[in-house]
């Protein structure tokens, strides 16, 4: 009786964690809130893992970790794609449309109401979740080995522990049944990389001057003073004796903390690794787990250009568009243009105008998506809600509809101008002078206006207005579609100003098929700015600086 009541309560209160992130769902035109799910920002507070679109392998591993951190009862809702193989399979699948999502949520609610308390829930386990055992000296925490042995400093026998744990512990069982959740996950041997995503286990690592970010496991013991063991008291001076000094002259423990690839304040798929000293960032770097790779890899002939494999021109266009979920229209146009130029077709005025209309419409939607993201980062709920709502409307609006939305879009700027605290929050954050190399798009254009997050906000708002003007004067937006090119061969190059900056594509055609291509995007360059932007900043400011670049991890070409 009580169980039934609780199950029903659960079903009415489904919160979901969106993977890769809410911005991806919005870019696909999905309104998750309208479908009846509450958007949660942490795996701890989510009952449903909502996966939007296909995930890369790295992302799949990260999501597996997230899933393991969700309290049961939990479910997986897969929208538009296959669930990663490491997960137990989707409970409910749906296509990429609002109707299907709504229906899927109803089915989910029913599933929760009926069987939230299955008699014997199966344990979930995956390779990704297994901890690595390492060996550490009880006296010298900085001595960490992969094999048992003795300490080179004092000769004591090393003690086994799980990577990331703070005290030697001989019990490595995971008692899922006893609610002992897996928190810390290490790969076995091969891939030396933490696959934490949004992991709440902190990685204290003692640094002995030689900062090695070469991808080795930095494992050390936990931050000073956290002593669950039975060792005696050590003074702070002793504890911090050999540690590097911070900017304020204090010797403190530094933590290397992962942010992402599924983190509420950052675009999904972007992983930021920050070394924190208190809440200041001493250094950081960003990587994309979902970016395109252009080198040929064996066994994967989908996203790489391979000499041996030729891709049908039409397929290539679809491919490029779906690989960039945050700016599909721009990349579709880019691929069309490059192929048409390779085939020697001339641009025709009317088509170009309609295509550019669609490009500008995407720019408006994309900038609104960025505003929503900034709102999420700043806890500015009104902005997130307003911008998301407008983004969903703009996404496939025709010219008249856009004219209708114009006043709402314009008042957004006025409203932000009047918002107290906003300027003081953004001014001076993420400063990039105009002479910085590799700036493109809104980030480059804002560099002349002050070059900080505040300038980038106004640059994007100005671009929304300019795009509206363009569409009003040029006619109905229309998606690019490939004109008939026949069996031609040749080489062509095209450049499109995507919402995030210029993207350049050059390709070779052979008998109407794409033989090889080379893609250069703004985000590939912008992601390299991250280390400099975050260094020495307070954590909140550092994240905001990264956010203001509007990185799309998909558009990072490695």
């Amino acid at each position: 009786m009580l169980q039934r009541l609780v199950s029903r309560a659960l079903a009415r209160n489904l919160s979901c964690l969106i993977v890769p992130g809410p911005e991806v769902a919005l870019a696909h035109g999905l309104d998750v809130t309208a479908a009846g799910l509450r958007i949660s920002t942490t795996p701890r507070d989510a009952a449903v893992l909502l996966i939007v679109g296909e995930l890369s392998e790295k992302m799949g591993d990260a999501v597996t970790v997230l899933y393991a951190q969700m309290p049961r009862p939990r479910a997986i809702l897969m929208v538009g794609g296959q669930a990663p193989s490491t997960l137990p399979g989707a409970d409910i699948s749906a296509g990429l449309s609002q109707e299907e999502l709504n229906e899927a949520v109803v089915r989910l609610q029913r599933a929760f109401a009926d069987s939230a308390f299955a008699a014997s829930p199966e344990d979930f386990d995956a390779d990704v979740l297994h901890a690595r055992i390492e060996y550490v000296c009880p006296m010298h925490p900085e001595v960490v080995e992969d094999e048992p042995g003795s300490c080179p400093k004092c000769g004591m026998d090393l003690v086994a522990r799980e990577a990331g744990e703070s005290t030697p512990d001989h019990d490595h069982e995971h008692h899922h049944d006893e609610h002992q959740h897996d928190h810390e996950h290490q790969h076995h041997g091969h891939e030396h990389e933490h696959e934490h995503c949004h992991d709440h286990e902190h990685q204290g690592h003692h640094d002995h001057g030689e900062h090695d970010h070469g991808g080795h496991d930095h494992e050390g013991h936990d931050h000073g003073g956290h002593d669950h063991g039975a060792s005696g008291f050590m003074s702070m001076i002793e504890v911090t004796k050999d540690l590097p000094r911070s900017a304020d002259g204090l010797q403190m423990d530094w933590l290397e903390v992962p942010f992402g690839p599924v983190f509420p304040g950052l675009p999904g798929g972007l992983k930021l690794t920050l070394t924190l000293d208190g809440d200041g960032v001493t250094e950081g770097q960003a990587t994309s787990l979902v970016g395109m790779t252009t080198e040929a890899e064996e066994g994967e002939g989908n996203e790489e250009s391979e000499e041996s494999e030729q891709i049908n021109a039409g397929t290539f266009i679809e491919h490029l568009a779906s690989a960039m979920p945050l700016a599909p229209v721009s990349y579709r146009l880019l691929a069309c243009l490059a192929i048409e130029r390779a085939a020697g077709l001339n641009d025709d005025q009317a088509t170009t105008q309609a295509r550019n209309g669609a490009l500008e419409r995407e720019r408006i939607a994309s900038h609104l998506g960025w505003l929503a993201q900034v709102g999420r980062q700043l806890g500015f709920a009104w902005l997130t809600r307003r911008a998301s709502t407008l983004q969903l409307k703009v996404r496939d609006a025709d010219r008249d509809k856009l004219a209708e939305l114009e006043p709402a879009l314009r008042t957004l700027g006025t409203h932000l101008e009047r918002t107290p605290l906003l300027k003081s929050r953004l001014k001076g954050i993420g400063l990039l002078p105009p002479q910085s190399s590799a700036l493109r798009g809104p980030v480059a254009r804002a560099a002349h206006e002050g070059g900080d997050a505040w300038a980038r906000l106004w640059q994007r708002l100005a671009e929304i207005s300019a795009s509206l003007e363009f569409i009003r004067s040029s006619g109905e937006p229309e998606l690019a579609s490939l004109r008939n090119i026949g069996d031609v061969s040749g080489a062509g190059e095209a450049t499109v100003d995507t919402p995030r900056g210029e993207a350049r594509l050059s390709l070779k055609l052979e008998r109407g098929k794409v033989k090889s291509y080379e893609l250069d995007t703004a985000c590939s360059h912008h992601i390299d700015l991250v280390p400099k932007l975050v260094e020495g900043q307070e954590l909140g400011d550092a994240l905001l600086a990264v956010g203001s670049l509007d990185l799309s991890p998909w558009e990072v070409i490695s």
Binding site: L5, V6, S7, R8, A9, L10, R12, N13, T33, T41, T42, R44, D45, A47, P71, R72, P73, F117, E165, S166, T167, H179, Q180, H181, H183, E184, H198, H200, E201, H202, Q203, D222, H223, H228, V257, F259, F263, P264, G265, L276, G278, D279, R376, Q377, L378, G379, F380, A381, W382, L383, T419, P420, L421, L422, S424, R425, E538, L539, G540, L543
Partner: protein, 298 residues
Amino acid sequence: MTVAIVLLALFGSAWLLAVIEGWITTGRLSPAAPLYSGLAHLGRESIVPRSPDRVFFEAAPVLLMVVAVLGMAVLPLAPDLVIADLGTGGLFINAALAYVLVAVIMAGWGPDGAYAMIGGWRFLGQLIAYSMLIVMPITAVAMRAESLVNTAIVGSQESLWNIVYQPLGFVLFFIAAMALSFRAPFDLPTAEGELGGGVDAEYTGVRLAVLRLARLTLVVTLASTTTVFYLGGWYGPLLPPWVWSLVKTLAVAVSMMLAGRYLPRIREADLMRWCWVLGIPLALVNIIIVGLLILVVP
């Protein structure tokens, strides 16, 4: 009996507040929603992180709850509706609220996770910013009442509420109270976009239910404090005194919850600077003005 009534008022207000909050965020007015979400928390796994400081981890949500209830114990809903009308009521609230810091730091330290820990220490910085702005406005309120007894403080506002008598003090106190309840835009310890939930991040199931209820209750307690100190407590025409107390308390609580939706989160450095460089001198000015008024106006 009084204890039961006051507690009922406290949790009833928290429930109403949750309903209103749900209405604003989802657009649906559903009186049962908070009950359902509470039940849903009970139905979920309550996870303990792998190497927690178990005492801190378990104690933090409970302590936060106790603080909110303790504060409420000295606040009068009506002349005779107060659990303990202490001679030092005004200061007792301040003392009880000091434990919010302890609870938040426990919640930060307990789970042994970086996000939570940073959140906990951030709140320590926040306390250094807001704490003077809690005490100094209370000083001016007590000066006017010539007493620290909360019923006397309300009594002193019979002819003119303190919000009119000392508006500066009210503004400062209101801001400090919002910072103390760490609701947006002062949600530095729990910032979702910066710390993925911070001190809340590791709590699930029953513990999360307690923590959320405690945070709501804390807002109600602070709103009630604001009512007693600045909005003339139970005074008002027509309706019975306790109704006025509750209406005012809810109004203040809702405005505390809502302000954050329309504002970006404040930077920690800015909060510190503004509170110390601007807030404290203003609080002193407020004390001086009130002192002069007491001398000049009989």
